[in-house]
């Protein structure tokens, strides 16, 4: 069992190295097969690790440098079900991306496979590691592979610009993470998360606050929390479709995961007396992110950019789940990550199919052109239902678990945010479905009309009239998986057990540093009333359908008291998204400063 642990990182990296060495001498199909097999192998092992770590986290010390006298000397992987589960999920999405791209990039050689496998190895390592600096290294490996993949269509000026905006903002985020790690090291003399956590115990001082703010803001740049979110829409609009699947489906979620991991392994002690301060601040950030993402999502005509803003909105919901600072919130967030990642990946795949078939993903240019593709339309529409949080999708189960946790924490109002984000983002998807696949509504409207047309390089040759099965099947399978996770018996209970393991920092420290196993903090099975969540989620789906219908209905007056102010508000928001990297970094700097000042202030004046 122990010898399995490094393989999810080693296999993809090894195969990537071989493919890179043989670049140009290898038939395309062999590279495809090797990549897919490596991904499946990594996925099987991480899934196995998830099952094995259910009872106690698995600790693996590289090179046999185990703990001596309670001191971590070497570098460890500390595997718990949530980390291993996320790694498995990353493997599933990478597999979907590889299958989808069998028909893609005819002329590219094998560098695409190399970068994708490097990306996968970094994500697996990021999820499994128990060491802060190791976390940073995998974070940077993930980023470097992602930057290169994002600018893969290298003849397109907007692709290069999007990749550059992405690279600059995320690199600054990585520096902030490193500064946070350095400050924690200066305070504790340790890099192992368990040991840092034990050394800090529950002492709180200025260094700890600054270190945490730096770590959190750095990771939230990757997670695209407002005001760090600007890069995400640019990167998604220009990245190749299979890459978008990974960006939206799992990469940005890993930013939220990293903050949760650092918080529960290290910071829960120092912040124990200041939870309302931190929680309140993060709930605010999450809510703003969810609302701004949803509004911007509705105002797009470029389908990939529209989906990108929807991702921002849903990441806001994930931040809310973490901000409750309870294991229950964490459990809900984990399920929601799966559900959202799968439906969002399916939506991106359909966008990729449209690009393959028609050479554009512009909603207006596609008006009514995809009428023939009924099956694709159904997948897109059903994935939209999943996005709105309709039962029995996994998104519903996740939202329900989070809402229940919020109710216990006396934050029932978050249901309103869930309703809003689900309704507006799904409405945008339904609007696209109706316009593109059914030709409903006017060819232009003023709502999404402000978004500009972004020129798009075709990713494929030889479009033909039919949609290749390898493109369609991953989308359909992902939607079905999102349903399957949602109706899997005891899913929420399993997630709660996993979340309690992750949140038990005393147990984690004892397991890593003393090798002992504390008695399970297994939560009691509880019956959670579903009625309120059911009403909310069906309401959101209905509202989404209604909004999409009213946007397209020819008889609906375009100048009224609701419509006009929303449109002007949207224009104001849109003006902030300039595509200029300097502006993005200015917002980032402002955001970090504001975050630090507000958190310091709250900690000073808000005691339990």
């Amino acid at each position: 069992m122990q010898s399995l642990v490094p393989l999810p990182v080693a296999i993809p990296l090894g195969v990537a190295a071989i493919l890179a060495a043989l670049n140009g001498h290898l038939p395309r199909r062999i590279a495809d097969a090797a990549s897919i097999l490596a991904t499946i192998a990594a996925g099987v092992i991480t899934f196995d690790l998830m099952l094995l770590s259910r009872h106690a986290p698995i600790i693996y010390w590289f090179g046999g440098w185990t703990v001596r006298a309670g001191m971590a000397i070497g570098i460890s992987f500390a595997i718990d079900p949530i980390g291993a589960g996320l790694a498995t999920f990353a493997c599933v999405l990478v597999l979907a991306a590889f299958v989808f791209s069998l028909h893609y990039f005819d002329s590219i050689g094998t560098m695409y496979h190399v970068l994708m496998l490097g990306f996968l190895a970094a994500m697996c390592g990021f999820c499994l590691t128990g060491d802060l600096f190791n976390l940073f290294v995998f974070f940077e490996l993930m980023s470097a592979a992602a930057f290169a993949l994002c600018g893969y269509k290298n003849e397109e000026e907007s692709a290069q610009q999007g990749a550059l905006n992405f690279a600059v903002t995320n690199t600054i985020g990585a520096f902030m993470v490193l500064i946070g790690i350095a400050l924690l090291y200066s305070r504790t003399g340790a890099l192992n998360m368990a040991q840092v956590g034990r050394a800090l115990s529950n002492q709180m001082d200025a260094t700890v606050i600054v270190a945490f703010v730096m770590l959190m803001c750095g990771f939230y740049v990757k997670a695209a929390a407002v005001p760090f979110h600007f890069w995400l829409a640019d990167a998604h609009a220009v990245a190749p479709t299979p890459v978008c699947i990974l960006f939206s489906g799992v990469m940005v979620e890993l930013g939220v995961y990293a903050v949760a991991r650092v918080y529960w392994a290290i910071m829960d002690g120092p912040f124990a007396a200041h939870r309302p301060a931190l929680g309140g601040l993060l709930l605010t950030v999450g809510t703003i992110t969810a609302v701004i993402g949803a509004i911007m999502c509705f105002g797009q005509r470029h389908i990939k950019r529209l989906l990108a803003f929807s991702t921002i909105s849903h990441v806001g919901l994930l931040i809310i789940a973490f901000a409750l600072l309870t294991p229950d919130g964490l459990a809900g967030g984990a399920i929601y990550t799966l559900g959202h990642g799968m439906v969002k990946a399916a939506l991106f795949i359909v966008a990729g199919i449209l690009l393959h078939r028609f050479g554009t993903v512009d909603e207006y240019q596609l008006h009514g052109r995809a009428r023939r593709h009924r099956a694709t339309a159904i997948v897109f529409f059903v994935a939209g239902l999943g996005l709105s949080g309709m039962p029995p999708f996994a998104t519903f189960l996740g939202e329900h678990t989070i809402e229940h946790a919020a109710e216990i924490a006396h934050h029932s109002w978050v249901s309103i945010v869930f309703f809003f984000a689900g309704a507006v983002t799904a409405a945008a998807v339904f609007r696209v479905t109706a316009r593109v696949f059914f030709g409903w509504g006017p060819k232009h409207d003023e709502f999404s009309g402000g978004g500009k047309h972004i020129s798009e390089q075709r990713e494929t040759h030889d479009a033909g009239h039919n949609i290749p099965a390898v493109m369609f099947i991953p989308a359909a399978v992902l939607v079905v998986l999102a349903l399957a996770v949602g109706i899997m018996p005891h899913m929420d209970q399993q997630a709660r057990v996993a979340a309690f393991t992750m949140a038990d920092h005393a147990g984690y420290q004892a397991r890593v540093l003393d090798g002992s196993k504390l008695p399970d903090a297994t939560p009691e099975q509880e019956h959670t009333p579903m009625a309120a969540s059911l009403a909310r989620s069906f309401g959101a789906t209905a509202a989404a359908l209604a909004i999409a219908f009213l946007t397209l209905a020819p008889w609906y007056p375009r100048k009224n008291k609701v419509y006009t102010p929303i449109r002007s508000a949207m224009q104001v928001l849109r003006n902030f998204h300039t595509g200029h990297v300097g502006d993005y970094v200015a917002f980032l700097t402002f955001g970090v400063a504001a975050f630090g000042i507000v958190l310091g202030f709250l900690i000073q004046y808000l005691h339990v």
Partner: protein, 114 residues
């Protein structure tokens, strides 16, 4: 240990960010990012520094000799490697933008607005 290196690190971080924000050239932006990164070098070395410490090579040294912390130096080396990759990538992107758009001025690229 004086506070001076920490002030230098903070200054480099801020001036580098100012450079990225105000720059009108992608190549210049990449270099400003390298300045931001230098702040992490200074910070790491400052954390590991010990007044009167010797280099951390212990072959033949007496037990109890004060030495600077080798771990932060290893971290810094890793940091340099990682960031060399990123800067190389950024410069490659800048070259591609020049080829595609004929400019490296972010003010003149307007496709990703809104």
């Amino acid at each position: 240990m004086s506070i001076f290196p920490y002030l230098v690190a903070a200054w480099l971080f801020i001036i580098g960010l100012y450079g990225v924000i105000s720059s009108r050239n992608f190549v210049h932006i990449s270099m400003c990012l390298a300045v931001v990164q230098s702040s992490t070098y200074v910070l790491l070395l400052a954390i590991g520094y010990k007044t009167g410490g010797v280099p951390p090579i212990f072959a033949g040294a007496q037990v109890g000799t004060p030495a600077v912390d080798p771990i932060v130096q290893a971290l810094m080396l890793t940091d340099i490697v990682v960031e060399a990759t990123v800067v190389a990538l950024l410069l490659a992107l800048a070259v591609q933008i020049q080829k595609a758009a004929g400019t490296v001025d972010p003010d003149k690229l307007l496709e990703l607005q809104g």
